[in-house]
């Protein structure tokens, strides 16, 4: 029970914590690249976490009702909507950041970027947090379960947050150029994963048609291995993705790749190397 609690809470916390790290790295990078003209207050993280926890509490409280919607596939529909909402916010973010050519309305742009970051993290916490709350709330009440689940949960959350902190400082220790590049790659993978997860959930609910699996790498890297879990949390690794999932994953990546967020890496490369 204890070890299981560690794993379950770790899985859920990890996704949110890695997302927060990547977005926080971008917050810092924007500040370094643009100075005061396009600077985001890091307090968005605090707001998104507080609101996210409240939202997760509400969602987990209403899950019994939600799961009855649409002939018992309500959870899939709501969770897929959360993924699609997150993806849209990420794309807005990627398209409103100033680039070398577009620098107007910096105030509006920074507000919108802050809003998107808050929204993405808020939604991630609602989704992952509600699962933790259902697990802990539903099972810790049983006699003898309380101590192992609560302590296991605390340890799982601790490990998950530590990995997030490690990623943050790992990226921040790099040069701006490389932090930006790696952050961007992670953001592309995160965006792709959101699209892919939405597809998976809607297929599970029979709202989207079945498509055959694109490949099977379960022999190469099992999803239930430690690396498999880590990659699942970070980039949505799946051993047997469907073709439609793959298409949506690639579409999410491409959308980020054509955004100003992506293009901006190049023109600023040289000047940034000096400032670091």
């Amino acid at each position: 029970m204890f070890l299981n609690a560690v794993i379950i809470v770790l899985q859920e916390i990890l996704e949110a914590s890695l997302l927060i790290s990547v977005l926080l790295v971008f917050t810092q990078l924007f500040h370094k690249i643009w100075g005061k003209s396009f600077s985001l207050k890091t307090s968005w993280v605090a707001y998104s976490i507080i609101l996210g926890i409240i939202g997760a509490g509400l969602y987990s409280h209403y899950t019994p009702q939600v799961s009855e919607w649409f002939d018992y596939v309500g959870q899939e529909v709501v969770n897929a909507s959360i993924h699609i909402g997150s993806l849209i916010l990420l794309l807005i973010l990627a398209f409103v950041v100033p680039s070398k050519k577009i620098t107007g309305k910096l105030m509006t742009r920074s507000r919108l970027t802050t809003f998107c970051m808050t929204g993405v993290v808020l939604l991630a916490i609602i989704r992952e947090g509600s699962e933790i709350m259902q697990y802990v709330g539903g099972i810790a009440g049983q006699s003898g379960n309380f101590t192992p689940i609560v302590f296991g949960g605390i340890i799982g959350a601790g490990i998950g947050l530590s990995i997030g902190v490690l990623l943050y400082y790992g990226l921040m220790s790099l040069s701006i150029k490389w932090a930006y590049r790696l952050g961007l790659i992670l953001l592309m993978l995160i965006a792709g994963n959101m699209g892919s997860q939405a597809v998976l959930l809607l297929t599970q609910a029979d709202w989207l048609p079945f498509t055959p699996i694109a490949w099977n790498t379960s022999a190469l890297l099992a999803e239930d291995s430690i690396l498999g879990h880590l990659l699942y949390a970070l980039i949505g690794y799946e051993a047997t993705p469907s073709i439609l999932q793959l298409v949506c994953y690639l579409s999410g990546m491409i959308m980020i790749a054509i955004s100003p967020l992506f293009r901006k890496v190049q023109p600023h490369n040289q000047s940034l190397a000096g400032t670091n």
Partner: protein, 124 residues
């Protein structure tokens, strides 16, 4: 008089023919989802166990699994092989669609009580 009768018969025939066509079209339209009706399997969770622990389904067909949780605790149906994951609230039920699948064994488990809640989908 006779010609008029023949013409009328002809009209009636045409009408009935078009009605027939229309009804065939409509029937096939409405019959499509009916013919594609998905088989349903019931899976019960009780005392952190799955009943039945082995589900047999035909290959190449979509199946609706209705999971009924008779425990007061929530459970999470999870399967890496089936690519499925879903929380079933305590004393609640949930629906998961799987397939069409290739023949083989697809294990699943309850993530909240993995020691006891184990099962397998066998596709034949």
């Amino acid at each position: 008089m006779r010609l008029k009768f023949i013409l009328r018969r002809f009209h009636e025939m045409k009408n009935s023919a078009s009605m027939l066509l229309l009804s065939i079209t409509l029937t096939s339209l409405f019959a499509y989802p009916a013919s594609a009706a998905v088989a349903e399997i019931e899976l019960v969770i009780k005392d952190h166990l799955f009943f039945p622990a082995t589900l047999e389904i035909p290959a190449g067909q979509k199946v609706r699994i209705r999971i009924i949780n008779q425990d007061s605790t929530p459970e999470e149906f999870e399967s890496y092989e089936l690519n499925r994951e879903k929380i079933i609230v305590g004393n609640g039920q949930a629906v998961i669609f799987i397939g069409p699948l290739e023949p083989g064994r697809y294990p699943f488990f309850g993530e909240f009580f993995p020691k006891t809640a184990q099962g397998v989908v066998i596709v034949k």
